[in-house]
Symmetry: D2
Subunit: 435 residues, 4 copies
């Protein structure tokens, strides 16, 4: 398993032209059922309800992260000093960790985790370490300790921090692939940057990855691209709205299960999660199709809240939204909640205040939350943190741009009398018309 393939295999890819697989280990990992499951999990969750062509999977992203890692460390032509190629096991470790870094992601990842308390990074490590998985069995063929090493790279504790940096830092193979790929898939131009140049100016230095001074502007451009993707794509309030609805669906289904509600068809694959008794094997059965299957059949459930929410999600009748100030708007919120109750809508499932800072906000915040900063290596060897030398990056660093919004159903879609709707409409307009 430590050897090379007799003949390099290539997989077509629009971002990197081809994914090149040269090592038996990588080819075997791609074939595992845990990796194949990622074909059935969309990379951007519900973003396709806003940008319809955002339909790509975590599988193709994982191949892309692997390929970027390979290009960084496979080179032997530059003087950049990557010496991983000479150390076969470290080399394979970097490639395997890159390929597997997202293998623990489930469907609608962040929304699912928020409701069910799961953690995709913990699952990634479990898939790597659990002896029943195909991934583990393949990794263990390299060496008995090899799965542990991969797992340590994932949780950033591995001794060779260069590999850790290449997978989890402010500028790593993961982020570089997802920006390019998400931009390509959605069709927006913001995510483009000169990856070839960045690969040329990255170098290992003092057990870390740094950027040569001449590459400062290329990295600046990458940071700005990421900022723009967050502002324009990842934080889009229409996607947030879909997430609110899925969150409410999950919550309602759990509540019904706890009340002993009889579903028309038993949700076999979800019960363990409802009861918080799930095992790795339960988790590995989940994918987007399983979730959507349940939402689909729940459209016909007797519980009107569950069926209504599922119909909304499946047919894209999302909640509206307007700006919300938690300090000054609570009276309005209570008025609205009362009005909803009056016409038979439970605010628990039909109103939601949500802040974008609740989200996995990934802007450039050096030093914080294990996000390793980007250091620029000057000609004299000194390291200067990027936001110190770039006014552009400084402008967007360390600021949590919190945008709080209130999500609510379109009044015209509610089951209520014309008069009730009109009153509700007035109430909403009064608050939201110019926000």
């Amino acid at each position: 398993m430590i050897g090379k393939l007799k003949e390099e295999k290539v997989i077509k890819d629009p971002i990197h032209r081809y994914i090149h697989v040269q090592d038996k280990l990588i080819w075997a990992l791609i074939q595992t059922k845990e990796m194949q499951r990622l074909r059935r999990v969309q990379q951007l969750g519900m973003t396709n309800l806003t940008f319809p062509t955002a339909e790509h999977s975590r599988f193709t992203h994982s191949l892309g992260v692997y390929e970027i890692m390979r290009r960084i460390i496979a080179t032997d032509e530059t003087a950049s000093g990557w010496q991983l190629k000479a150390q076969r096991e470290e080399y394979l470790l970097a490639l395997a960790a890159a390929l597997l870094h997202d293998v623990g992601h489930g469907p609608f990842s962040h929304t699912f985790e928020a409701v069910f308390g799961t953690d995709h990074e913990a699952y990634t490590k479990a898939i790597i370490m659990d002896e029943t998985t195909e991934v583990h069995r393949v990794l263990a063929q390299v060496h008995a300790d090899f799965p542990l090493k991969v797992s340590q790279v994932i949780d950033k504790s591995y001794s060779n921090q260069v590999i850790v940096h290449l997978i989890s830092s402010q500028i790593d193979a993961d982020r570089m692939d997802y920006l390019l790929r998400d931009a390509y898939a959605t069709g927006v131009s913001y995510g483009t940057f000169d990856i070839e140049r960045i690969l040329r100016v990255m170098m290992p230095y003092q057990n870390a990855v740094v950027i040569e001074a001449k590459g400062m502007h290329a990295v600046e451009d990458y940071v700005i691209s990421r900022y723009q993707m967050y502002m324009q794509v990842y934080f889009h309030p229409v996607t947030r709205s879909a997430e609110v609805i899925v969150n409410k669906i999950f919550k309602r289904a759990i509540a019904l299960h706890q009340q002993g509600y009889a579903f028309k068809q038993e949700p076999l694959l979800l019960q363990a999660f409802f009861e918080k008794t799930e095992m790795l094997n339960d988790y590995l059965k989940l994918d987007d199709g399983v979730m959507r299957y349940h939402f689909l059949i729940w459209q016909d459930e007797n519980d009107t809240i569950l069926s209504d929410l599922c119909q909304r999600f499946m047919n894209r009748r999302l909640f509206k939204y307007c700006a919300y100030n938690p300090e000054t708007d609570t009276v309005f919120y209570e008025q609205l909640a009362d009005a909803y109750r009056e016409i038979g809508y439970n605010p628990t499932y039909y109103l939601q205040v949500q802040s974008s800072s609740d989200l996995p906000y990934d802007l450039y915040r050096p030093g914080e939350n294990q996000r390793l900063p980007i250091n620029i290596k000057q000609k004299d060897g000194q390291l200067v943190e990027l936001s110190v030398c770039s006014p552009l990056v400084k402008a967007i660093s360390g600021k949590t741009k919190t945008s709080v919004k209130l999500y609510y159903p379109d009044v015209s879609e509610l089951r209520a009398s014309a008069k009730q709707k009109e009153e509700l409409h007035q109430l909403v307009m009064q608050h939201c018309s110019n926000k």
Copy 2:
């Protein structure tokens, strides 16, 4: 419903940059649940098992076909003579038919149809004509006869053949979008052609669409692009292999149902199809997620054939293939079938001879099968069929390049003794090694 939107709406799209929606009718149709269902049906079925990034849906393709149609007929700047814009209803008819042309497609379309005897074009018409659908109700708001007209455009019987040509001919909005979109999604370069130029040289003429002589090479390029996409992408034998497996899964599930087999979980959404009693409403519940949900849970069924086939599909352990000559290779086939039976594999589910000419082969074959030819309008007004004036197109016209292949499981994956595997391997190698 016949009016314009107050403000044009745009949807981001990487192929056409933006999809522009200006008409209330089109916006309302996009919101129908029948159209939204297409988000959950992949455009290229199982092709993503060969080209992993081929993950796009029939929904985004449908928007693209609509947008191309809009660009063709919305122009008022050229002297090309499209007068649809002046006739509001005909204009909306062309747009609506373009948007809806694929609304009857189900999951794994051609494979599903082959097994269950359904017909996506019939379903498209049913969705348009059935009074219970949202699509019908929206269309009927234009005019009571409007759904019928849309339906006639779909089955090519509508009087204004210009609209029919723009949707179903050798060079239509449908084909132009799917070539560009499939090429973009897979990352292959073959599908590109100069659509802007083609739109400029198309013109209505004698109740048909023709190409001005100066555009001959651009259209030639489009035809060659299509040929290359068929050769390189659509007919790829690995995708065929996945289709063979799905075909076998369906057949096994039907057989089990007919035998009164007790599935661990009743396949509620599929029963009507197993019994050939399906109604439109049953059909509209199907999508890729529903299919994959069943394949997923069937991996744990007691029937070993069904569970094995489902595991193969879900984890991409596809059948191998080699060239097969129906005239000379029948003895080999029988030997192989016997050997399979001997180790407990039923050849009905584990061997398949398949010819690519069984497929919806869409090369340029003027005159055949309602495929309207491409006519080039000479300066003197005469029409010359494309393959007459282009030697390149002539070279690929009217030829059914039948490639027959035998699909079989990888010997090393079978449950059998080492000796049995070795014998089987010899038998296969003897026949397939140099094909």
Copy 3:
């Protein structure tokens, strides 16, 4: 001349796919010899010595600016309120001014102007107003006053400031085309932004052009793109070095002419400029080929300074550079000048301190130098200047990032003894090694 062409003409263009010409006036202007001259003037002057593929001309840029203007004002589908289309003469005025805005540019524009005191904007107006030019004669066919109006748009005095803004503001057809075109030609990724989106969010308002609030991020992205292009491409010190040499060549040739030096071949086309007696007709003869022809033959002149400088330019043996602090480095400068004099090199022609703030620095500096600011129109109708609402833009606004550099010949290329070279090398290294 005010009418439309019988049939629209198109010109292939990689940036806008096609340039569409629909008006007789525009077609006639493109054919004038003053416009055709721009084919022989490179858009980015000497930048091709740094980015070799930057070989595009001011002619193709001018077509691009025209095309963007056409797309802005030709639309009748949005509610954006451009009413120019209804006013035929204003419409043609906007198109003509866009096409002609650079017609007064000469070869190596800024360098030439710095030495000879010419002004391309004055020449643009002269070409439009002078009755002997083809451009003037074509424009005058619209209306006797029409050339004057075009000229007023160029100098920003025209009453309809919307047209002025569309050609000369912080976000205008000129800048949008050159960023996209220069990025395409050089191959850098920095210059890309979503022009289609920007065209959608621009609108006329209170005799100016403003941006709708929803388009703020798209415009922010455009401003950052421009910043990156300046940092990475336009201000590149290697290009500066080539400009220093051309500047010195011109200065030497003038000095020789003033001394009565006998050139081997009389520089007929340049004499008027040497003597500051040039007329419009003299100016219109100049192009890159004329300049390069003289540099080519001057390589063989007897004057060693002129021949050496021309050989340097033609064969790309440019000056080196290092950072220079005008306050602290004057002693070093004098030492170096003395050392050059000693080995027979006149510092007037072989040393140059240059600051990038001498350049036509076009960053975002609202209010300054007639650069109209970008105003964002809020939902309530208020205008907010871009740098007020964008921290990114604020970060790069109003700051003149002055980078001062000293340019000098590579020591190894000088005609001097080994010992002299070694001493000179030491002197240079001492100062420049870590800058």
Copy 4:
């Protein structure tokens, strides 16, 4: 000169992203004045008069050919068997020959050669072999015989035919770069093909380069791309028209020189060519700027033929054209020639019959003219020529599609009475109206 650079240098390029230079020899060759001259010679001659953005030089193309060669032979990861990397001198030979293959091209290459009888390949060899050139001196530093070897690769006589094939065959680094580059520069989509795939399926075999069977469709796509580029771009009759005019300008200038005509300014750089006494040094002074300088000043010559033709070229007042049948149209030709003579236009300079088969027609014609065929290596080791296995390629092989056209000035532009023009117009229309 045989060593590697301390640090790899990169040059930005939109086709290959970056040109990578790793060897001292290549860096030194790029700096020679003979290579730098190619910056001043446009790759597609006068094509920019048809496709205005076709402004790229032979210099950037030469860098591209070098880069493709480097990518082919630098790889050590595939099993393809290129062993050049191990043989340092052969490796450098392949790179140097790729970079230098066009160094002997002059301005307006084919037109210039047709009139003056020069030969760019002979000049390429002369530049390599002549001891006075910088190119020669750099090459000779590798080894005294090295220039000769490079020269042998150019004339295809070198013993290692693999290198020859990579530079001059039906599928070589030269053709691959120019198709991609010309398509990029003009903006047409025809020239694109999957170069990365082709590089993967090329392999050395029996002292030649062959294509693995699995790559057949990729190569087919490349051949069709080339065909389309010839049909759409290279053979465009408007470019032909410009070439006719330049041809006539040269002929007139020669005739005047032979008659002892006194040019206003002596054409110093051209005299040797007028008298056929040119030496290498004379040739190396020529570039586009020199030619255009003469055409520019000749606009003001006293000879009306020369000045008129030069004005036509500089201001793009090209000749019209219509189809011409050499067998049936000679009477018409004579009538037209007589009519021209009558109004004072010499048909020698104002009428031209031209056939596109006179051109360097580079379609796929195996076996002919030293154009090495493309052989497909089957699994069993046999070689099959491409047009044998591809019906598409067969359709365009070996056929000289001769298109003969007559070029003549636009009647309306001639100096003649209204009546004369009307008669001439009738004569031309009678013949050309429907061609």
